[in-house]
Amino acid sequence: MIERTPLLNIATHIILIFGLVIILVPIWLAFVGATLTLQEVNSAPVEFWPGDQLLVNLREAWALSDFGQKFLNTLIVATGVVIGKITLACITAFALVFFNFRGRMLIFWMIFITLMLPLEVRIVPTYAVAANALTPFQTIMDWTGISWLINAVSGIEVALEWNLLNSYTGLILPLVATATGTFLYRQFFLTIPDELVEAARMDGAGPLRFLWDVLIPLSKTNIAALATIMFVYAWNQYLWPLLVVTDRANYGMVVVQLSDLVPDALTTGGGTPTWHLAMAATLVVMLPPIAIVILMQRWFVRGLINTDK
């Protein structure tokens, strides 16, 4: 279809460029801030052109926040969430779609409901559980009298404890505990043609073999899409790591570290705000997920659209 619309084309570019300016200006200003010296960044007319201090500031911000260890931690947690989520989503959806058992719908709905309440909304009690992840079982055993029974029979006091505070497990598990991805996989499994399953069974494949040799190779695009989304999601977590990790030196994540760099009376002691360091750190922290989104754009868009939040 060919149409000549020179005026509208110019208008289109103008509108788009205007939109881009709005989107890019804050980050550009942050970038410029990261390239200035302490005096320049605090001088009144706002600077629009970068200075030459970028590397110096980056190095100082990096050392100040001890980013080496924190990047490693964030990478471990993000990878853990990605792998955990994909594995869980895949096997759960597989069991729900391909097995016949009573209560299938019940289990489906039980998992489905977890989509409704994001971690932020139930943050206080989730934190309490993380302090001892076995509390639920302890409480149930106390209520049902199993603890008493064990105590009476063997003389052992039942006191289950598994503290997840300040650990990678504690950072990862609650982030994995929703149904995001399970539905992406379910949708995909529902599109598998009957003939494929019949053929696999005819060839003598059991369920696990079918999953491993047929379904997983077919779901590579799913895996890529889900991995992109989950990596960005895990990397950018803030509230949860802020609470679970008190031992920042060993288990701190990069995004949480930003809250320490907010230049207010607390961090500068009433001195000149160190905007140049705060902005340099912000840039460093933003970069990995942005790189992932740009490089994996196709998968990212697919994942975003198909994943129920």
């Binding site: 149409e3 759960t92 016949n100 932020e120």
Partner: protein, 293 residues
Amino acid sequence: MRRAYFKFSWIAAALLAPQLLIIFVFFYWPSAQALYWAFTLEQPWGGGNTWVGFDNFRKVLSDPYYWGSVRVSVIYALATTVLAMGMALTLAIFVDRQLAGYKAYRVAIIWPYAVAAPAVGLAFQFVFNPGAGIFSYINTIAPGWWDLSKYPWQAVTAIVIAGAWKQVAYSFVFFLAALQSIPRSLTEAAAMDGARPLRRMIDLQLPLLTPTFFFLLVINITDSFTDSFGIVDTLTGGGPFRATDLMVYKIYADGFRGFDYSGAAAQSIILMLLVMALTFVQFRYVERRVHYT
């Protein structure tokens, strides 16, 4: 659901167990715990919790600070949603014309999705800071006119702009995908009938976007209730004078700084009901209308 192929066996149980265990410990138990706390009060000197019925809710609902928090949360939700969706829709419609460079435009609009909320908050705090930000010009003319840490309305404006900025990419992706799934035959038929591009935008594309529009409306509002913590914490810290004390932020502050678990739990329950109602609306009324082709 489809016909199942395999009989239930220990394999299926083993495949389901991890997910069920995790959601039991980290989802159902905490949610039940929140309910328990919301209806009980912890004794100050130990001795467990006592049942207090709706007292915690009554206390929360008669607290003017809580209503202040609800008010600013609603303002934040509506303002960010309108700004972000308006901008996303405009950009998506024009990007969809696929002129030269449209891929570059697309990437440039999508990437802010990847920026962590606290990073957005911090960057905007720099942009808006009274000493050397973009408003420092005004401050050189009228000293002290712009100061986020003093004037509530300025702080609210700042978190709204930062929040909207962060949300644009998400809506944009959905609008663009919806626009691109409009069948070519429709566009061509309209063109044959003499509809120019602008006419087609108004009479063809916008009406066909309605389902996506409603879907995004609900999602954006829900997100603004739950996702705002990082921005508020780094940009304003809930102040000045609690002007930006959004609901999630208040739950955090009351629960972890004030150690008022019962109050925080009652607030959590109210927020949970709100989010569930929105999600219910989304699944019940919105999603079904998304498939229009």
